[in-house]
């Protein structure tokens, strides 16, 4: 019998109990890696499995929880020689029974980016090795996971390297989140979307405490639910558990109401627990729960139910934006992240991500951008590209359930995009157009929408995951088309039962007072049933229209959210654009807005460079001096520097408008060296250098020396700043310097180095810096600026 028929034929499926507890009881030598016992004590492992089978387990987990190449490094063993032995022990125990063998896979043991330094791709490869080594098992189990992206890497590795059924269980704290902040709904939605066979919770807490967690899980999926609790809470010191087999069983029985189908025990449980539980279940009936299909997307920590209008922020898109294009070309991730954060602050529920530009590697950029975005914002993402391989690359590393933007009625598009939506469990925007273009009539667009929904269904994608875009045309060019769009939208919503999405701002192209036209059209569309307006959430009239609509349509009950957003709102008066203080005062006191205003005023009758050289820089220098003398704090220095930045921005804007060359005093690469993840010091240096007018190419943390060399060559950069916090990573700093020095392209004809390297970090000293070949040692951010002045002027 296989797992699927087990689910069909049995009222309940029994798993086994703890392995570790049994190893201890059997008096086996407990080293760091109990998995090694599969090789050294195969018989005894088989015996433990056997006890669980006799107690009633239908499925036993192999003793391979930590048998991965990361944990086994330096153990003298590999996944390839432990896992087959583990499967062998399980098979031996299961001989002459129907018991299934589950290949057990736990977390890698190292945190993934952004908190840790393990990449998604590395995690995938580690899991892949385990899955291939365990090819003789009947199914694959991922358990005790706390990071949704890590388990996603595992599930993809399993799906792409085997055809076995998959069970996924994660570990939650009493606050209903995992250590990394994953919430229950996001876990269930994302993993259901990836097409696993059963889902649930293990370890964590005792059975009683798991009840609310299982209850919430059942709300989000129709998949069989799995519960494998600990035998109560462990005593932090003695490591013993406090719930008896009887009480354990009683608590698990309470969870059956939520549709639990598969159950067993985790830490502290023994064959006794499994026996008690399996005999109690003999008189129980499985209670299937069926949920209404939901249109929902999520990040790992935030779930957005599309049961009311939700705003998709449109600003991460280079189309028609010069600064954005520049940022993409320069790999300036901070620019993009700032756009993201300000949209979320403006009220975006979801962010569209488009990084398509002919002259860059869009696929690599999409991966970098998705990874960077999910490290700082919590809202779900919409992956936007015309290229299927870019869409796939983005979906792959996305930590949650994304939206694809987009598929259309064209055969080629349907065939390439819908399988991706299915594989990665994403929702998809369906554009109501095809090879013949955009139909003029509502009927024509409705027909294409219908076709998309039908084709998606053939791929196993429900209509709750199709968001139809009936396409906004420009009112000034095709005035009669506006009502066609709205009619099509209304019909898609009511007749097809799909959610609708619409980019709004196109409507006003070529008209004056575009904002007025946009917000009016938005309100009309909402009334026709628009669920997902794609807008600039930082335009108050647009976000405001959505919020006001939700009040009037009786969605925002008691206007709670509206009042929360506008309680302190006073209609804008003509703003007073004059500054109360001069530039010097503003910079010295870290008053950003004041500084910007003062700069604007000065620009009216003062040359830009004169402001920079005679006002801004001297003010900054004074602040720096005060910092050195211990008169002010580091945060104050940064606030002043940020004020100077705001002033620079005003000047830059003016110069860009006048098409003058950008004000830059030269380019500097900054990086925290390979292996080091403490980058706050480097980031402080970046802020100060930025504010003194240098262009910083920030390569981030844990940076490969080769990337630094490549960037220096490609962008012709002569100055490089490196940081390392720990003694263990100083070696990386030395390696990086050596590589820079030894790279031909970065040498002068006489063999001397073209690059000036400055270094800093808590454990560094001047002597050591010189010893490893740096040109300058900077004790703090201020000294980095002084060094830049010396080198670049």
């Amino acid at each position: 019998m296989d797992f699927k028929s087990l689910l069909l034929n049995k009222e309940f499926v029994m798993l086994d109990g703890a392995m570790g507890t049994m190893l201890q009881k059997a008096g086996l030598p407990l080293g760091e890696m109990p998995e090694i016992l599969c090789v050294t004590h195969n018989e005894q492992i088989a015996d433990i499995h056997k006890q669980y089978i006799e107690a009633g387990a239908d499925i036993i987990y192999t003793n391979t929880f930590g048998a991965n190449s990361y944990k086994l490094k330096n153990s003298g063993y590999t996944a390839e020689n432990i896992i087959p032995q583990a499967v062998k022990a399980a098979k031996k125990a299961a001989e002459n029974t129907d018991t299934l063998i589950a290949l057990d896979i736990g977390p890698v043991g190292q945190l993934l980016e952004p908190t840790g330094s393990l990449s998604f791709e590395e995690a995938y490869n580690i899991f892949k090795e385990q899955i291939i080594a365990g090819k003789d098992a009947d199914l694959i189990v991922f358990e005790t996971m706390t990071d949704l992206l890590e388990i996603k890497a595992g599930v993809l590795a399993a799906k792409e390297n085997s055809d076995k059924p998959i069970i996924c269980t994660m570990t939650f704290e009493a606050n209903k989140r995992t250590f990394t902040g994953v919430c229950i709904s996001s876990m269930v939605i994302t993993l259901s979307g990836l097409g696993v066979d059963a889902i649930g919770v293990n370890c964590s807490l005792g059975p009683e405490e798991l009840l609310p967690i299982v209850k919430e899980m059942s709300h989000w999926t129709d998949l069989p639910l799995v519960v494998k609790p600990n035998a109560g809470l462990p005593d932090p010191n003695s490591n013993t558990y406090d719930v008896s087999p009887k009480d354990f069983t009683q608590s698990v029985l309470k969870m059956l109401d939520f549709g639990v189908k598969v159950t067993g025990g985790c830490c502290g449980t023994t064959p006794e627990y499994i026996k008690e539980l399996s005999s109690a279940l003999k008189t129980e009936k499985f209670r299937k729960k069926e949920n209404q299909k939901k249109s929902v997307v999520c990040s790992s920590s935030t779930t957005v139910l599309i049961d009311q209008p939700r705003i998709i922020g449109e600003r991460i898109n280079p189309t028609g934006k010069r600064l954005f294009k520049e940022a993409l070309k320069n790999n300036d991730m901070n620019f993009i992240l700032n756009q993201a954060v300000s949209q979320v602050q403006g009220g975006a529920d979801i962010l569209d991500v488009n990084v398509g530009l002919p002259e860059i590697d869009e696929k690599a950029m999409m991966v970098r951008t998705v990874k960077a975005l999910q490290s700082v914002i919590d809202v779900p993402l919409q992956i936007d590209s015309t290229k299927p391989d870019v869409v796939e690359a983005g979906l792959r590393v996305y930590n949650g359930k994304a939206i694809i933007n987009s598929v259309n009625g064209e055969e080629k598009s349907l065939k390439s995009i819908l399988p991706l939506a299915k594989k990665y469990g994403a929702s998809v925007v369906g554009l109501a157009l095809d090879e013949n273009g955009i139909p003029k009539t509502a009927q024509g667009r409705f027909d294409i929408a219908k076709k998309i929904v039908e084709r998606a269904e053939q791929y196993g994608i429900g209509k709750e995951n199709i968001f139809i875009d009936c396409l906004t045309l420009t009112a000034s060019a095709e005035q009669e088309g506006v009502m066609q769009t709205l009619e099509a939208l209304h019909r898609v919503k009511t007749e097809l039962g799909c959610r609708t999405v619409l980019g709004v701002s196109n409507i006003s192209f070529g008209l004056p007072n575009r904002e007025l036209v946009n917000s009016t059209f938005l309100t009309m569309a909402l009334q026709e049933g628009l669920d997902l307006p794609i807008i600039n959430p930082n335009v108050e009239s647009m976000t405001g229209a959505v919020r006001a609509y939700k009040v009037l349509a009786d969605i925002d009950k008691n206007s709670r959210s509206f009042i929360e957003n506008y309680n302190e709102f006073t209609p804008q008066k003509t703003t007073d654009n004059t500054s109360k203080h001069d530039l010097n005062y503003a910079v010295m006191n870290g008053l950003k807005d004041e500084g910007a205003k003062a700069t604007e005023e000065l620009l009216k009758n003062t040359d830009a460079m004169e402001i920079i050289n005679n006002k801004l820089i001297p003010a900054l220098d004074k602040v720096g001096e005060d910092f050195e003398k211990g008169k002010i704090f580091l945060p104050q220095l940064i606030q002043s520097a940020n004020t100077a930045q705001a002033c620079f921005d005003v000047i830059k804007k003016k110069l860009t408008a006048e098409n003058n060359i950008a004000v830059s005093k030269g380019k500097i690469i900054l990086a925290t060296v390979k292996g080091d993840i403490h980058d706050i010091g480097k980031n402080i240096v970046k802020v100060l250098l930025d504010n003194y007018g240098y262009t910083v190419v920030d390569l981030g943390r844990d940076v490969d020396p080769q990337l630094i060399v490549d960037t220096a060559i490609k962008q012709d950069i002569k100055m490089i700043g490196l940081s390392a916090l720990m003694t263990t990573t100083l070696k990386s700093m030395e390696d990086t310097i050596t590589l820079v020095r030894n790279t031909k392209e970065l040498q002068n004809p006489d063999g001397s180095s073209k690059c000036i390297i400055f270094v800093g970090g808590a454990v560094l000293t001047e002597d050591y810096a010189m010893k490893i070949g740096a040109d300058y040692y900077c004790k703090d951010a201020k000294e980095s600026v002084d060094t830049a002045k010396k080198v670049l002027g």
Partner: protein, 214 residues
């Protein structure tokens, strides 16, 4: 369970690099906000376990041997503020670097305070015995690479989500591992100080002619 209800402001100011700065109200306000945010986002967790004092694995280098001299037992411990603090500091760096710096300093204060709570818990457990101060991998010649072994022995990745990366740095970053010696007899009051410090007098406090307080 460790509950932190307030954080030591003077310590935070010291981490920020200046002890004698005249505070203005804007800075006071920033410190208030940051203290609250750290308290709100910190989820201190800890583990500890007694190990034989002659455990060869733990006795690398001379400093630890000196430290544990006269002790019959050793307790290894770890503590973390959790992932939320790393997230908070990472996000804040994007929006307001000045605030991020203050948050970072308060987080360092918070993990030290959390460790002191663990000290008290251990002291309570070994009532009547004498304890050394916390000695961490990275002090003196005690290799930082041991952090990984400590976490394995404590099962910290699974139990509290505390791991190391390939370079033996702790993740989440605001975390600590350490050894405390336990003795039946009074131990000579060894002090944490420059002698066992990995920076050995090259730190910014020493450079400025003062020291860090230990």
């Amino acid at each position: 369970m460790i509950e932190l209800s307030s954080l030591n402001r003077q310590e935070c100011i010291r981490y920020l690099g200046n002890a004698n700065v005249e505070m203005n109200s804007k800075m006071e306000e920033l410190l208030d906000i940051c203290e609250q945010e750290i308290l709100k986002n910190a989820e201190p967790k800890f583990l500890y376990k007694e190990v034989p004092v002659n455990n060869a694995e733990l006795l690398e280098g001379n400093d630890i041997k000196n430290h544990l001299q006269g002790c019959q037992n050793a307790v290894i411990m770890c503590a973390t503020l959790g992932n939320g603090i790393d997230n908070l500091i990472r996000k804040t760096q994007l929006l307001d670097m000045a605030k991020a710096v203050v948050l970072d300093s308060f987080a360092s204060v918070a993990i030290e305070q959390a460790c002191c709570c663990v000290d008290e818990i251990i002291a309570k457990k070994y009532k009547g015995k004498y304890l050394t101060f916390r000695f961490s991998p990275g002090y003196g010649d005690y290799p930082i690479t041991l952090q990984k072994q400590f976490l394995n022995i404590l099962d910290a990745p699974r139990k509290i989500g505390l791991c190391t990366n390939d370079n033996f740095l702790l993740t989440p970053t605001k975390s600590v591992t350490a050894v405390v010696g336990v003795s039946d007899n009074e131990i000579e009051q060894r002090k944490r100080g420059c002698a066992v410090c990995s920076l050995k007098g090259s730190c910014r406090y020493r450079k400025a002619g003062s020291h860090c307080g230990f």
